[in-house]
Symmetry: C2
Subunit: 331 residues, 2 copies
Amino acid sequence: MKKLLFVYLLLIGLFVIYIYNYQMESSTKRAWNENELVGNMDETYVMVTFLVGIDYWKRALKGFEDAAESLNVSVEYRGSTQYDVHEEMTVLEQVIAKNPAGIAISTMDPEALNPVIDKAVEAGIPVVMFDADAPESKAYSFLGTDNYKAGVEAAHKMADLVNKSGEVGVITLPHQLNHQERTKGFQDTISKEYPEMKVVSINDGRGDQVISKEEAEAMIAANPNLVGIFVTEANGGVGVGQAIVSNNLKDSIKIISFDTDKGTLDMIKDDVISATIAQGTWEMGYWSLQFLFHLQHGIYDQDRKNAPLPRNVDTGVTIVTKENVDSYYPQ
Amino acid sequence: MKKLLFVYLLLIGLFVIYIYNYQMESSTKRAWNENELVGNMDETYVMVTFLVGIDYWKRALKGFEDAAESLNVSVEYRGSTQYDVHEEMTVLEQVIAKNPAGIAISTMDPEALNPVIDKAVEAGIPVVMFDADAPESKAYSFLGTDNYKAGVEAAHKMADLVNKSGEVGVITLPHQLNHQERTKGFQDTISKEYPEMKVVSINDGRGDQVISKEEAEAMIAANPNLVGIFVTEANGGVGVGQAIVSNNLKDSIKIISFDTDKGTLDMIKDDVISATIAQGTWEMGYWSLQFLFHLQHGIYDQDRKNAPLPRNVDTGVTIVTKENVDSYYPQ
């Protein structure tokens, strides 16, 4: 009997320890959820873009997913398949109808989506813009490249490539704001900081490979001393690369392009394009989700309810050359 | 004996469940620490400013502390007691010597601290700048007010206060970059968007209450139709407020000031100053610590090791009026 009593006591003791431990664990967890940056897997944050699935968005989505993993929340990716603002609007309407925990949007039109964006914000859904802003909308924040500064970086790299001396040109989209800014940052920096360099020509490549090739050839014919061309978008960069190759000018004219499409990266490997400007797309996605999470969880200066987030984030650029090109191929 | 055997089996079963649970818990916790945004209390992040302890830094420090609580890390606040760049440099050297987990610095000189900042970065210490940048240093990021945009906001508010019509003036520090930017944002917006308004005078208040009062009186005498004055810093704002009161012009001239010092807030309560521009100091502190934590823990796009963070964050402004002034007094 005594033995049995001992076993019973031991048994009861164990139960008490077990239950005590169990409660400790759950109270720790509860405190944790209140103070720490930990969400819930049924909180779903949605990324919305146009031209869904193209390579350009992959790194942004990766950043968005990486942040979701850190914060223990879920993500979805939606968007228009075409370059069609009405389709993007319809997709956004469908996303809003599901009342998600937050939406990060890149818009193909700086104004057309405003009524839908504002509707989401008014319904209490956190919204931030990334890569391409809708500045007059009620979205809380914009995370993207400061295009003027990207042009400044391109100018410094060009100066480096041509030993700070000689005539250079730009092939761009002169009617689009982001390309105007890239061109202006480039021009201003060359004229202010490199007295031995001169921007002699700015041509319209229309974002087209064939037209950009023709414009590059015309520019070279008109400026026989040209030592470099800055191309502000990727299709044009490949076109200019082709012009340089077919005219056998690989050694005398340096090209700096924009973004990290496969065609551009291949031409960097082949020494046709010397460098390209990579945007911080992972950063756009990662910090977009962080911002949406902070809005959803009310983690901000409570005095500034009308402006709870930093208004503008310049996600920065990096320069890709033959040395680091391998890590920019999609994995 | 059978009973005893049953008890023993139960006992063994319980032990197995207990140990199984224990291991589950600890393996969950280990996975947690790898993936989630949770630091260690012996990770110490340091905020360094000049004029340590003045009201202006309090909200920034609060943001820094709030982020530290969320991320489960420690913070310290250090700085020079005087407006003395050599003292700030000495303090920064002392902070670096302790090898902290990260440093957020606001510098009183955009260049003087660069060698010390660069030394910290080269020693592997994460560094970000906030409020006042050292743009040529190796710090990874800057978080602060876009002063041009703050001037734009001030212009819209002024237009609102004077019914989009009339002559306005600016009292500023014409030789300091941040004040030049505030003035330019204000001027550009008035001239582009408000055809019935005109900036008729820009005077130097030297950041001094008495001089700003005198300059306001001179401006009013020279421009009898003046309906508003934008003052780009807080001492001047109080001086201009005194000028308005002593000349009995409270009803005819609207003042917009900058920052949220007690003197400014009191004048808003008394209807002397109509509005003031509050900077996102909490945001600067909060996101500085988040950024430092991400650097320390290697949470960034591994392809962009040379630019792991957004380069520039505009923490934004809010407009303080009589309606929301109470929440801006230090608590």
